[in-house]
């Protein structure tokens, strides 16, 4: 069984991003990029499936600028067998990414696609679901446990207020939540070996996908500065403030 894993190159989680003066986005010049943490979990899950003998091949896919190949090398160092880079300097929104993934699925015919539930840059949380809709496959999102037997896949999902188990038929889409696994570190020998693993580059045009953005960013602003707290004198005052000021109850 082939497993396809989508990985995104994002600003490293340790970087404190700054909004550009013209409010067109965040400043990404000279900052560190790394693999979206949820995608690391996705790669780890796929590699474990291969180690268990369930998966036969793990293919990592990334989309975007040339440096995405570095992210793919990380995936290869963690244990993916080969990689596909969809090269594009355009802004790739979730729908475009889902369409590109669909095109790659048509070509590669994987039985399972694993994605991070969301990327830590735009937090869209859409690509996996869109891909499931485009492909007409089952989806198990926010997975905290995945079990495969034959053509059945059972996914435990982290939902509001508890866990939900869904039984799906392969082929299927799984998106990872934080507690699915703890990704391994890429070992030095594997980092070196990853340089020699196959990495193919394709373009959206070659895949026949129009990636023109459908959404327009009007402006990006810093979140409001946190204000100092206050002390309340009575429970009544607290309830009043929660109701009328914070409006949370």
């Amino acid at each position: 069984m082939k497993v396809l894993v989508a990985v995104k190159r994002v600003v490293d989680y340790n970087v404190k991003v700054r909004v550009k003066a013209d409010q067109s986005g965040v400043d990404i010049a000279d900052v560190k990029f790394s693999m979206n943490p949820f995608d690391e979990i996705a790669i780890e899950e796929a590699v474990r499936l291969k180690e268990k003998g369930v998966a036969t091949e793990v293919i990592a896919v990334s989309m975007g600028v040339a440096q995405c190949q570095e992210t793919l090398r990380t995936a290869l160092a963690m244990g993916a067998d080969r990689a596909i880079h969809v090269q594009s300097d355009a802004e790739l929104q979730p729908l475009a990414v889902a369409k590109l993934l669909k095109a790659i699925c048509d070509k590669e015919q994987p039985q399972l696609v694993i994605l991070g539930k969301q990327a830590i840059d735009d937090d869209c949380n859409q690509t996996g679901q869109m891909l499931a809709a485009l492909a007409g496959w089952s989806q198990g999102t926010f997975a905290s446990k995945v079990e495969i037997s034959g053509s059945d896949i059972s996914v435990i999902r982290e939902v509001d207020g508890g866990l939900q188990t869904v039984a799906l038929k392969l082929p299927a889409i799984v998106t990872t939540d934080l507690r699915l696994n703890e990704p391994r570190y890429a070992t030095l020998p594997n980092i070196m070996k990853a340089k020699k693993k196959p990495l193919d580059a394709v373009t959206p045009e070659a895949l026949g996908v129009d990636v023109t953005p459908r959404l327009k960013t009007l402006k990006v602003t810093e979140p409001p500065k946190r204000k100092g707290g206050i002390k309340v004198k009575t429970i009544g005052e607290l309830v009043d403030k929660l109701k009328n000021e914070a409006r949370v109850i």
């Binding site: 340790n14 000279d30 900052v31 560190k32 790394s34 570095e70 090398r73 990380t74 160092a77 570190y185 890429a186 070992t187 030095l188 020998p189 594997n190 980092i191 070196m192 990853a194 340089k195």
Partner: protein, 389 residues
Amino acid sequence: MFDAPPLPHYFSPEHTQFRDTLRGFVASEISPHINDWDEAGTFPRDLYRKAAALGILGLGYPEKYGGTPADIFYQIILAEEFARTGSGGIQASINSHTIALPPLIAAGSETLKRHIIPSVIAGEKIAALAVTEPSGGSDVASLCTTAIRDGDHYVVSGEKTFITSGMRADYLTVAVRTDPAVKGAGGISVLMIDGDTPGLTRTELKKMGWWCSDTAHLHFDHCRVPATNLVGTENRGFKTLMHNFNSERLFLSALAYGFAQVCLEEALAWAQQRKTFGHPLAERQVIRHKLMDMMLRVDAARSLVYDLAYCIEHGRGNTEHLVARICMAKVLSTQAMQFCADQAVQILGGMGFMRGTRSERIYREVKVMMIGGGSEEIMKDLAARKIGI
């Protein structure tokens, strides 16, 4: 500024990835325990295996022994990331093979290499280098421990001291005098001696710093060592021993400014959050100046080490001058460490005097860095000679 931005002229994506692996490993496997290990005076032997599993111990060694060949910048990254623990002891022990194995790699027989190197870089066995004696350290050519040939064995007698990993080592790379008639460098050889050789006794030494690392005084009393354990040619060991000093010193330099940077980071975090008379310390000019004095020393030392690593990797520059500059890099970096440890403890005030802060420990570990691997005085003298003064 604190965490150097991508420097593509020095570091490839693979370097960066190795750094990420190390940072994660250090943050999850070492840093949470380091205070306890330092107080306990030891750390679990299992850590060697964990480091080996990530390829850390095999860094730079040939694949046929289970290693991963890699350029010198990987060593620099290793030093910088281990420095983040704020403990010199852990890296001194975990990496003791980086000074113990090079003579073997450079001159040892294939049988000996195959016997020793794979188990050490797999984290199963520990290797230590034993050169310094009670009568002298820097003056290697004057060592007194003798190894007298008796049939197919050498009989080793003498003492070695300040031996890092000396208590736990399974293999000791020992500098011995095989020709007692020759007093200088000419009569010196290198022997691999098993830790369980009869006649070898070890005594643990208590130290100012490096608490979690085992340091030993070794006594060899007529230890019989197979002649096949000789590394290289008899009486030609001096050069073999000196061979590795350049990379060891560059590694130590990176460690030293790494520790200096840890002090700077700890002092800065403290200065930003500690308020005196209504304002954070970091807003006080006297403290701001201290922080910048620290930063300029870290930055200068790091820049010199990166430049040297680049020159070595690409074979640029006059060899003699490179050696001189490596000596100066060690002086510059360890002085940066001394300065930053002192300033950080001062900025932390009472907290800096308390065990548990990284600056307190680094303050106690400055001197070993200024002495070990070539003392400051020797470094300056050697640099002057290499430049032709």
